[in-house]
Symmetry: C2
Subunit: 241 residues, 2 copies
Amino acid sequence: MPNPTAAMLVIGDEILSGRTRDANAYHLAGRLVQVGIDLHEIRVVPDDHAVIVEALRSLSAAFDHVFTSGGIGPTHDDITADAVADAFGVGIDVRDDARALLQAAVGKDRTLTPEHLRMARIPHGADLIANPLSGAPGISIGNVHVMAGVPTIFVAMLDAVLPSLEAGRPVLSRELRFEVGEGRIAAPLRRLAEELSDLSFGSYPFRDGAVYGTNIVVRGTDDALIDQAIERLEAIRRSHP
Amino acid sequence: MPNPTAAMLVIGDEILSGRTRDANAYHLAGRLVQVGIDLHEIRVVPDDHAVIVEALRSLSAAFDHVFTSGGIGPTHDDITADAVADAFGVGIDVRDDARALLQAAVGKDRTLTPEHLRMARIPHGADLIANPLSGAPGISIGNVHVMAGVPTIFVAMLDAVLPSLEAGRPVLSRELRFEVGEGRIAAPLRRLAEELSDLSFGSYPFRDGAVYGTNIVVRGTDDALIDQAIERLEAIRRSHP
């Protein structure tokens, strides 16, 4: 069985305008490797309803899971819940369980404002994702998991979602440092990658003071095969000093 | 005249596997704001020929410019040049001017290896992008600009490419700090954003010790209009202590 597949959709003018460096896609990528879900695409789009709907439709059709970050919250630029409802062709309304979560977060003696209630609007048929930090829940509907853009909240929501998903075999990786440029070892490396085609080989040049070197990363789900690849790489390293 | 549009295509298993946190899209976003090119999408895809070809075709049809990073270099996982040739339906061969750049980079007394020559393969009709750091050039063909994934080289190649592109009006931004949560100011903020619809307003919650606050960012190309928006925001801040 191949691992389940996934895409990440980042909703954020603030990323595209260069104001903010995305942290959530990087966090998600690391977590999915641990649980054996293969991340195939990351897409960053603006806070634009039609663009978000189209991206949700195409990514949810192409992959087993879609994780989104951003565009939920009380302000004018928070439009993800409506886009999700449109993408799935369902209605959206304030829901009692979501309202109760917000009421608990603001304190039971405070009246919820219209802006609070915007955060309790939930597409019909969605499940809520708990938000232990600020109340406003994320949502899961179909294969789409909608989470907050604030990194601490994104991390907490992802922790709440991942255990409920069917996982695959964790992808393991090992890395070997070569103190030669990648051109010097490209030929034997290509032959090894062709021979051990169940593994993936990545080659990452680096510069460390006067040394131009290359880190070779081997990835796969079979630990013994990765060990075998590392032994073969060590032999290549000995013969290319 | 609206500003030209752009997309970024990041080619990199290392990003999708969580090994590396992308730096190039963040750098590009900041530079494009300065020159007045509007970044509409960032897409990260694996080192997969068919996926790269499809992404190049759809992004180059949808936007005025496409910038790519990653997948150029001498190793087995460097497949961008072939994908670009296929996306544009042109051939690809080692070209003399590219070979000369590599010869200069390795020193005129060394023989170029087959791996060096892979980096001199250029799609027919492309222009070269200078690589002052390690010789292997990037390429521009049609509206696609293919650059290295190593961040220092990406930065240098982008500096070489940007002056040749038709630019728009730089996007200016100013930011105002509110020491109240975004729910408190969402309603007047939405009204202001509707009234000054030539500007974009972003709302970014933060937590600073015991303070839950909100940074409001105003963006646009008209400096005077941004000043006017900031004055109005300051009035909102005074009335929502």
